[in-house]
């Protein structure tokens, strides 16, 4: 009889323990996705449980193991072959240290849903709409003939001065359009500036050398220089050999341009386009020959060397701005103006954010923080 009592008490304690334990298992649709994720959450405050296994079924009878996460993870994102709008059954099996199942598995069901809008992306969406609107608005108004003001870029003012000096000294000018092909925006920007430079050269009756390392750049640059001479009213003075191809190899090209600098000693060198390691070598040789040097590139790692060794450097975006300024193309001007609006929005937002932060108000920062 005693044994019976003991057993009874033991049973009672066990039952009490089980009731007192916080064991829960829930499943939810993973928000903001295309209906291919389900979040499973559990809470187990029971010391006996050593291991858990999650199983899944789409019919409620045949369960397959999908994961054995750590108990302390407290959640698991199931993304294995989940399809939207299908009912899934999940069960959580709990095991003790000896690998025995402690209680019968906990079950739950859920549907995965595809959302129409990802609510995590509101800030990105807001900025996308604002920027796209600003850029498109200004491009359209520039096309309609509205004048958009772009400030003068200081490096550009020296172009005329350099050409003047070259004429005075009777020395040529050198223009290097970078080492990338026409599909790079920097090369195109450089060529836009070349068009302006060539006009000035034609007016002053100076000589210009344009060595290039890409065949596509060669034909385009030739056309541009020819056109500039035509615009300046001196098509007869155009020498087609002034634009020439050296080689495609990076260092071979540098050696070639170096040779020209040493032999011809140009009065001014222009390096406008995309550059890699050759920036350093060109700028050094040019400095050594005593030329005025004007450089411009958006290659971040080459800007420092140009700044240190050249007289004027168009830094990054300035190169594109200079090209837009000179070419007067509505698309470029409008886009630049739209981006400026973006800069203004950003400065205002983050200054506001800083002030709010100083007063301990965090909502603006919270809004823009990714969750």
């Amino acid at each position: 009889m005693k044994i019976f009592y003991l057993f009874f008490i033991y049973f009672f304690i066990c039952a009490y323990c089980l009731l007192a334990q916080e064991i829960s298992f829930t499943a939810e649709d993973n928000p903001n996705d295309d209906g291919t994720g389900i979040i499973l959450m559990w809470k187990i405050e029971e010391e006996n449980v050593e291991k858990i296994i999650i199983e899944r079924s789409s019919d409620g009878t045949n369960f397959i193991e999908i994961a054995n996460p750590m108990i302390s993870d407290e959640q698991y994102l199931d993304v294995q072959d989940i399809k939207p709008n299908i009912k899934y059954f999940y069960q959580l099996n709990l095991y003790n240290r000896n690998g025995e199942e402690i209680i019968s598995p906990l079950q739950t069901t859920v549907f995965a849903k595809a959302e129409w809008f990802n609510s995590n992306r509101y800030p990105l969406f807001l900025m996308t709409v604002l920027l796209a609107f600003a850029i498109i608005y200004y491009i359209v108004s520039a096309r309609k003939g509205k004048h958009l003001f772009i400030r003068r870029i200081s490096g550009l003012e020296t172009i005329e001065e350099a050409v003047g000096r070259a004429t005075e000294l009777g020395k040529p000018l050198l223009f290097v359009p970078g080492i990338l092909d026409l599909d790079d925006m920097q090369t195109l920007a450089g060529l836009n500036i070349l068009s302006h430079l060539a006009q000035k050269v034609a007016q002053y009756e100076s000589t210009l050398y344009v060595p290039v390392c890409r065949s596509m750049v060669l034909s385009t640059a030739k056309e541009i220089v020819k056109e500039s001479y035509l615009k300046a009213g001196r098509p007869d003075a155009f020498n087609p050999d002034s634009v020439f191809y050296l080689t495609d190899d990076q260092f071979g090209y540098v050696a070639g341009v170096d040779g020209i600098i040493m032999r011809e000693k140009p009065a001014a060198n222009f390096y406008l386009g995309a550059f890699y390691a050759e920036s350093l070598i060109l700028a050094e040789t040019g400095f050594e020959s005593g030329a005025i040097q004007i450089a411009g590139t958006a290659m971040p790692s080459q800007i420092p060397f140009f700044v240190a060794a050249c007289d004027y450097t168009l830094i990054g975006e300035e190169l594109f701005a200079a090209s837009a300024y000179l070419s007067n193309e509505p698309a470029q001007l409008g886009s630049l103006k739209g981006q400026d609006v973006g800069k203004a929005i950003i400065i205002i937002t983050f200054l506001a954010g800083i002030v709010l932060e100083m007063f301990g108000i965090h909502f603006l920062k919270e809004f823009f923080t990714m969750h």
Binding site: A67, M70, L77, V79, Q80, E288, P300, S301, T369, M370
Partner: protein, 275 residues
């Protein structure tokens, strides 16, 4: 021509010889100056240390032999630490030459870990083109981006790849990067769109451009920069290697360059004044 002008216009080949020997001599005479560990390197170390045992992690080899002296020591150090902590390494490459360099790094490390098995503890999934678009694709469907490993064996045959469909189970991504595509693209996709931690090592050239990502949002958890960063990492895992060995030569060469800049500028000012 004044003495200074002559000095400024000396043949550049003399400077070439100077820097060659200036770097070679300290390699022979070891000074062993102390290496100070910086915060950004420690952050990478801590991230690897704090990742739970058995977590799958991605190491991306986005460099080629031209920057091997800078990045290979980091690769070796990070692989060692990860294997020591029993992490599962999934190695990939966004630059084709990274595949071979990954292999070389493992060849160097594996003798220390005889129990580590290919396919269970680490795998080399090989090279994929496409840069950011491909990383973005991995985030949605990793098995279809990498149907096989670098040797053409289907990934279903590797236990390490079981259940890994995207970045959700990945402990962290370490990018070893020499340019584009590289760490910047990993930050943009894996951290900024999918919220998984990204850290890495890069060439010294890239460090200044990557530092804005090291902020309180932890776009980049940490950054090991150049040979100095690699030496710091070697110190943290207590395994001095190539980077530590090169630090003396690095210091002396820096001094030489600084001296050259100073002399050049002094000459420049004196000639300017005499003019």
């Amino acid at each position: 021509m004044s003495l200074f002008q002559k000095l400024i216009h000396i043949d550049r080949r003399i400077i070439f010889i100077l820097i060659f020997f200036g770097t070679a001599v300290p390699l022979l005479l070891v000074l062993n100056l102390p290496v100070e560990v910086t915060k950004n390197v420690k952050n990478v170390y801590k991230m690897v240390e704090e990742t739970p045992e058995g977590s799958p992690v991605i190491i991306s080899f986005d460099y080629d032999p031209s920057t091997k002296p800078e990045i290979q020591p980091m690769a070796v150090a990070i692989i060692q630490q990860s294997l020591r902590n029993k992490l599962k390494l999934i190695c990939i490459a966004l630059w084709p030459m990274g595949v071979q360099l990954c292999n070389e790094a493992f060849e160097q490390v594996l003798p220390l870990f005889p129990e580590v098995k290919y396919g269970i503890d680490y795998v080399n999934l090989g090279y994929k083109a496409g840069g950011m678009v491909t990383i973005n694709h991995m985030a949605k469907d990793l098995p279809s981006t990498f149907p096989t490993d670098a040797g053409g064996i289907p990934i279903d045959e590797f236990p390490i790849m079981k259940g890994i469909n995207n970045f959700s189970k990945i402990g962290f991504v370490v990018g070893l990067s020499a340019g584009d595509p590289g760490l910047k693209q990993w930050v943009m996709v894996v951290h900024d769109a999918y919220g998984r931690p990204v850290a890495g090592g890069s060439t010294a050239v890239q460090v200044p451009y990557l530092l804005p990502y090291v902020n309180e949002q932890q776009q980049l958890t940490g950054l090991v920069g150049g040979l100095k960063g690699a030496a710091e990492y070697e110190k943290l895992i207590n395994q001095p290697g190539f980077a530590t060995k090169g630090m003396d030569a690095q210091s002396v060469a820096h001094l030489i360059i600084i001296l050259l800049i100073v002399i050049g500028n002094v000459g420049f000012f004196i000639t300017k004044r005499t003019k």
